[in-house]
Symmetry: C2
Subunit: 550 residues, 2 copies
């Protein structure tokens, strides 16, 4: 390359940093479509019929970074075909299988503003007003949970070296942060011992004379908790899973008995985790009772309200989470039922000084006495997602959330009724928040199973379940592939089996009704579609009907 050519390439390159996309460019047109009609854009751009993953992968096979630069318009064209077309229409009102929803329009331009400002929240020097804003959002969420006095927030919300919580990329990091802090508070500096943060877990256990640590949680606890136990060096086996009662809530009496047994083995219960909205069935543990038990055991009480936490915004239904105000820490994901885009988790600490147990400093950053938020977070550099939560809280407001949450919960109750009154469907778990599970069970099979249950004929029930599992998987997979609607699936032990004393885990459909645009008609249509698909099954359905006859 000659010097002149080099100069020319360089100038061409700098233009991507200085010359905006022309209004008529491919990417600008795409952007305009998104701005003017996101739902339409997604409906048109995302293909309805599923392409096998191995075929999608063909477009992403190249393993070398391409040498030559590519025109933005060519790239945009290509991505429309290979990426957008084969994305998931997570905001479709009929996509009711996961905790995604339609987003308010205003988050689109605001996200762009956030990206354009490109602040780094680790430190005030690279975030300035974003730091007080994030502290305010944490303060508002703290108030939503704990309802402390005005004086409390005046003292603590913007106070250097403390924080009312931490923003995280998601609920997993929030749970890790909470339990990391709890572990460090438990094994804190004491006498000669400089604390677990400095000297590690083994010396901590030795100093305090514990054989081991344990965390107790419902068997319905999120898998991020066992990830946490692994990460923190406690070990997944020390996440003690406590059975639930018939309503999918943790059995606090059994938990108390387990705690006693652990105590006898000199294993210190480091924390109790209450689940406020289990991922599989949406139930809420008896938080008040758990808080009392945590007091008895003198241990940390964490509530994983990653998605249930949003229901605190409903005056009508917040009673369902009663006891959460006694938690030492709470996880809430704003990207679930608070209608913020992916990437906005939070952990809130009751005591503003609690997070000091994980405080870090560094010379060039996070100086002592500063108001930098990065000294009490697991993550380092991170974006200003707090702005989008702030925007939703202000623009939707308590009154707006009241309507959104209540509608969502009431839609779940409507769907539960619909399932119960529709032939060949069986509601497996009632909605406590906006999540429920159910399955397709031909009427004749329902009756035969009821009889088997009355007879205590476990073997027969197992036979039915095996076939029903196959049928449920078939329906769920086919429905997803058809692309009109989507429900997810999981495996749980239906309530009506609990008395049998055996675990009859079954595959079930799982539905989350968080999308404000999901209508009753869509829910009716989901059952119609599932009924049609089930009737096409040539493998499990005939066997089921046959078995019911014998």
């Amino acid at each position: 390359m000659t010097a002149r050519q080099a100069k020319a390439s360089e100038e061409a390159l700098l233009r991507i940093f200085t010359i905006p996309e022309a209004p008529g460019s491919t990417l600008s047109v795409i952007e305009q479509n998104i701005s003017q009609n996101l739902m339409g854009f997604l409906q048109e751009s995302v293909v309805a019929v599923e392409k096998p993953l191995t075929e999608i992968e063909r477009d992403f096979q190249e393993h070398q970074i391409p040498a030559a630069p590519k025109f933005v318009s060519d790239y945009a064209d290509e991505m429309m075909k290979t990426l957008v077309a084969h994305s998931v229409h997570t905001s479709a009102p009929s996509f009711i299988g996961h905790m995604t929803s339609a987003l308010p329009y205003f988050v689109l331009p605001l996200s762009k503003m956030m990206v354009g400002l490109n602040q780094n929240l680790v430190k005030i020097e690279t975030s300035k007003a974003f730091t007080p804003l994030e502290r305010q959002v944490l303060g508002m969420m703290h108030h939503l949970i704990y309802d402390e006095s005005e004086a409390f927030y005046k003292s603590w919300m913007h106070s250097a070296n403390v924080s009312l919580g931490a923003f995280c990329s998601g609920g997993t990091v929030a749970n890790i942060t909470a339990l990391w802090t709890a572990r460090n508070q438990l094994l804190k500096a004491d006498g000669d011992f400089k604390g677990i943060a400095a000297q590690g877990l083994m010396k901590g256990l030795r100093h305090y004379g514990y054989n081991d640590l344990a965390i107790m949680v419902s068997e319905r606890g999120h898998y991020s908790l066992s990830k946490t136990a692994d990460l923190l060096g406690i070990g997944r086996e020390n996440i003690i899973q406590i059975p639930t009662t018939n309503d999918n809530r943790v059995d606090v009496d059994k938990m108390r008995i387990t705690a006693k047994a652990l105590e006898r083995d000199n294993i210190k219960v480091m924390a109790i985790v209450g689940v406020a909205g289990t991922t599989e069935t949406g139930n809420i543990d008896p938080l008040d009772k758990l808080a009392t038990l945590a007091e008895e055991l003198n241990c940390h009480f964490h509530v994983d309200a990653a998605w249930g936490g949003a229901s605190l915004l409903s005056k009508k239904y917040r009673h369902l989470l009663k006891g959460i105000e006694r938690a030492d820490s709470v996880t809430i994901d704003a990207h679930k039922q608070m209608y913020v885009p992916m990437g906005a988790g939070m952990v809130i600490f009751k005591d503003p000084t609690f997070a000091n147990a994980i405080k870090h400093h560094a010379e060039y950053i996070l100086r002592k006495g500063s108001k930098d938020l990065g000294s009490q977070t697991l993550e380092g550099s991170r974006p200003g997602m707090a702005m989008l939560v702030h925007a939703c809280l202000q623009i939707i407001g308590r009154d707006g959330y009241e309507i959104l949450i209540n509608n969502s919960l009431e839609k779940a109750r409507y769907f539960a009724e619909l399932i119960k009154t529709t032939d060949n469907f069986e509601l497996v778990s009632e909605p406590e928040l906006c999540l429920l599970t159910y399955r397709y069970v031909p009427q004749a099979v329902q009756e035969a199973m009821q009889q088997a249950r009355a007879d205590g004929d476990i073997e027969r029930l197992l036979q039915f379940n095996r076939l029903l599992d196959g049928l449920t998987k078939f329906v769920q997979k086919r429905q997803r592939e058809q692309g009109t609607s989507f429900v997810s699936r999981t495996r749980i032990n239906p309530e009506n089996n609990h008395d049998l004393g055996v675990d009859l885990k079954s595959v079930v459909f799982r539905v989350v009704l968080a999308n404000p645009l999901t209508t009753d008609e869509i829910l009716q249509q989901v059952l119609v579609e599932q009924t049609q698909i089930a009737s096409q099954d040539k493998k499990f359905l005939p066997q089921l009907l046959e078995l019911a006859k014998t």
Copy 2:
């Protein structure tokens, strides 16, 4: 509220989900300004003169979530005044204090697309084509580091249950993920022992018969490593900081001696971390020698190339990172010198099966045998940031990055020369990549200090340093407040003191030249401005000049 009123509020509320922002609305106008002239928007909207933080906080005092919804336009107006105006213009070409830069324009509309699609990368069911895309980006980065064969990538890039790395929100999580995996690989299942992931650190140490674990790293290692040691239960004291040689690179001989001492105490070196681009001085450890030592010790070799890693994209300068291809894992932040917005960290694993040590499954998600990326990440739900890295790799290409990286490194060399030849400035550390440190030292003081150094008069050097520290802080703070340009500051022991055998830590200016729009003229102007500010100091400067005379 009557039923009719309630219905009306509900309909109004649903409009934020269904009716796009009107083209003439406040928020649309703001967005247009951002799209058409980001630099102009930031220059006009972000105020130049700094407002004290306590005043900014006044706009973020309210601790209650407002009851009434707010118009989007009112909110947008308010945020322009309270948030945007007091943000940091991180992309200004004269903002050379941190690792932020101007962004390519195309990331703005693409970010919007990413937010609109709102995919969740934890699982294919909520990400589909985004998962193969992310795997491809990880594959390309793997190839950039390890240059494996085509067959290798064909076998592994899209293979279920393995991954060539993990996307993370940033370098901190990437470092944690790498060392978590290393810890779990070391204390893996063996005989009766089910592995640390299941049974915890204490049982792991007991089973393998180690007294403790240690991680060795240069004293210039990033603070995220001590955070990692805390989190993993190893303890910050077990991050063994090894002194550097005169060039700010870790002293491998000293590291070897330390390793022997640890071995004698039966403390297992779990990992050696090489730094490829220290945060404070930008130097690169002798990676080849570290790799050899790691082989001798039979331990994990991790390279923290969070910002230095981008230099691998330069054929001309990638030799500076020689030895990185022998690392077991590497951290690279795309939001640093790869020109991607905040929130795009990566850890890359040499061995595709390595991350199996942190694998997690759950019934409703992450089923065994799936290609879900979430089973080998620390985070759970997370956004499709990989798309923006993918876009930069394709649109900028190797050739484009070659120019950007080379210019950046050469600009640093130019600035170093400029500092050396400008009166009253002292270069403290030479740029190896695009980072350097320096300070303002009046010529007379430079000479007096040289004499004191020759005399070995430590006391006198300390006196000078104390005053220089004050002066440097004054200049840096005032410069930031004036808002025209920005350099950061840190504390290091300048090279020319190393032979004295004492640690004469000094406050220095720190400059990162990653922004392609930073010109030579801007750099010249930075020194002019600093000279002016220094001359205004009435406290330290007179004392310094006085001391130099005695």
